[in-house]
């Protein structure tokens, strides 16, 4: 992890209140692993904002992020234009374990703004010759993004809560329909992660967690999560944000 200036190369609205940005930095693009995140300084806000790495291109030295405009920081970030420099810590955390046997199949289960990091993961796995299936949940039609990109990785089911696009319902309703797979990776809101990991409790799975962060580097104990085997804990920023599904207590 380094503290770096990243130049905003492009900014694009990809869905309702959802912005994609391409950021330039050689070191970070060369070292970023799927599941890691950037800790971004926006304006002069006291705390940095954690945002996952959604894609990465080592050749061009670029890193892609996708974020939902929700509070003060993301609102301000959304106003930044290309050319502006962002002060970033990254890449942070432990990514998804990707040392799989080659002829295997993985399932990606994403919900809302938890979907972006799964794209970089899926792309990396596919490049390694692994089959990638996805079930992606969105609130509604106008929230859908990265659809085409996931389709290119492999079979993909789009689910919307209100049925305005793709299938209607929750991602958990479609985990049986996607086919066979060896393990799963999931990122999304806590209720979704709970439901997914409960439903897939017999499968090996990895989930990516969010928590309000202070330092983002493991020093302040803001972002801890209890581990299942009793009194232990993990720091989401440093030990995560990806954990084995059975490891942590949601």
């Amino acid at each position: 992890m380094i503290k770096a200036q990243m130049k905003i190369l492009t900014k694009r609205v990809v869905a309702l209140d959802t912005i994609e940005m391409n950021l330039q930095n050689d070191y970070i693009s060369k070292h970023a692993l799927p599941g890691q995140f950037l800790h971004i300084q926006v304006g002069n806000y006291t705390l940095r904002r954690p945002v996952s790495i959604a894609d990465c291109n080592r050749e061009t030295g670029t890193v892609t992020i996708l974020f939902r405009v929700s509070g003060k920081g993301t609102n301000e970030l959304a106003t930044y234009d290309s050319g502006k420099m962002l002060d970033v810590l990254g890449p942070i955390g432990n990514g998804y374990p990707i040392n799989l046997e080659s002829p295997s199949t993985v399932l990606l289960v994403g919900g809302g703004i938890g979907i972006p990091p799964l794209y970089y993961l899926g792309k990396t796995l596919k490049e390694k010759g692994i089959n990638v299936l996805s079930v992606l949940g969105y609130q509604g039609k106008e929230h859908v993004f990265l659809e085409q990109e996931f389709l290119e990785l492999g079979k993909s089911i789009i689910v919307t809560n209100d049925g305005t696009y793709g299938e209607k319902g929750f991602v958990t309703d479609f985990l049986d329909r996607i086919g066979l797979y060896d393990c799963y990776y999931s990122c999304g809101p806590i209720p979704m992660l709970k439901a997914v990991s409960a439903k897939l409790k017999d499968k090996q799975g990895y989930i990516s967690l969010e928590e309000r962060m202070g330092c983002g580097v493991g020093a302040c104990f803001a972002c801890v999560i209890p581990t299942k085997e009793g009194t232990g804990y993990k720091k989401i920023c440093k030990d995560g944000p990806v954990f084995k599904a059975e490891e942590v207590l949601l």
Partner: protein
């Protein structure tokens, strides 16, 4: 040449800059950003008698020019700290200050005594002011008699100089300071956080799971400066100042108010290099305002 060195009880500081307790863990993470030997000293995260898990999450919230935290003194316990964290920090050429906390007098005593076992810790910072401990910790910090009592107990138990860390959540900070000075404190450390709260509108409840949290960051700097200004005139022991420091100019403001050294907390989160950068910048700022040493600036902002 601007002289940054400063001598405090038990501490020969090459400069007056140290990371504040709880904002720097045990140094491991920040040691990847720069060489900790550069620091005036390191103040470790609070140590309690046993391991503590702390409060439920969310534990932090952002406020205007500040933040709230309710970590709840999470730490691996004093033995583990002495075993694994102190030796790590002892690799660096900088004094180590142990921040000690507890829920009972006995726990404070135990933790203080435990640090006698190592010769690698140079001073204790007695945290009587953490607002996030429920069992009684807070009373130590807001009642002069209780504060004096715990100071005496810790002084007796320890062979190290003791800096008592004061809470700003009091009507009369001077009487707190004088009480702990009389009880034997070698120095003061001030200020800890102000108790605050943020309500999360969508969920209609306090954002921090613990409900209240401690307010830190630039927002509280004027309160810290005022308290140090008042206290430094009433005690004869040195003050480690803190609360919202973000720049070398802020450090000078604390020195002028009467602090002899400073600690930097929240600002590490925005800029992991902040302590290192301030150390580089400080000679320029001192020089700009006509000082040739840190020593010379202490208390120079006090007018009668």
């Amino acid at each position: 040449m601007i002289d940054l060195a400063i001598e405090l009880p038990g501490l020969s500081l090459k400069n007056p800059i140290m990371p504040a307790s709880g904002c720097f863990g045990f140094g491991r993470e920040y040691s990847k950003f720069y060489d900790l030997s550069k620091l005036g000293a390191v103040i470790m995260k609070a140590a309690t008698g046993r391991e503590r898990f702390g409060n439920p999450t969310p534990r932090v919230a952002e406020t205007s020019s500040g933040m709230l935290n309710a970590i709840g003194l999470q730490n691996p316990g004093v033995s583990k700290i002495i075993e694994t964290e102190v030796p790590f920090l002892a690799n660096f050429d900088t004094p180590i200050i142990a921040n000690i906390a507890g829920s009972t007098l006995e726990e404070y005593e135990l933790v203080a005594r435990s640090f006698n076992k190592t010769d690698k810790v140079h001073a204790l910072e007695l945290n009587i002011s953490c607002p996030n401990v429920k069992e009684g910790g807070i009373q130590f910090g807001t009642d002069p008699q209780m504060a004096a009592h715990v100071t005496e107990v810790v002084k007796k138990a320890s062979n190290l100089p003791v800096y008592v860390k004061l809470s700003p959540n009091v009507t009369d900070i001077c009487s707190m300071a004088k009480a702990v000075e009389e009880a034997g404190a070698d120095g003061l450390s001030m200020i800890n956080t102000l108790t605050g709260m943020q309500i999360h509108l969508p969920s209609r409840r306090p954002l921090i799971a613990n409900k209240t949290g401690g307010l830190s960051g630039a927002a509280i700097k004027p309160i810290a400066i005022r308290m140090i200004y008042e206290v430094s005139q009433q005690v004869n022991i040195p003050i480690i100042g803190m609360g919202g420091i973000q720049s070398a100019a802020d450090v000078l403001e604390f020195l002028l108010a009467g602090a002899s050294a400073v600690a930097i907390g929240t600002a590490n989160f925005q800029n992991p290099f902040v302590c290192s950068e301030i150390i580089d910048e400080l000679p320029l700022v001192l020089g700009k305002y006509g000082f040739t040493s840190v020593e010379e600036a202490i208390g120079k902002g006090i007018v009668s």
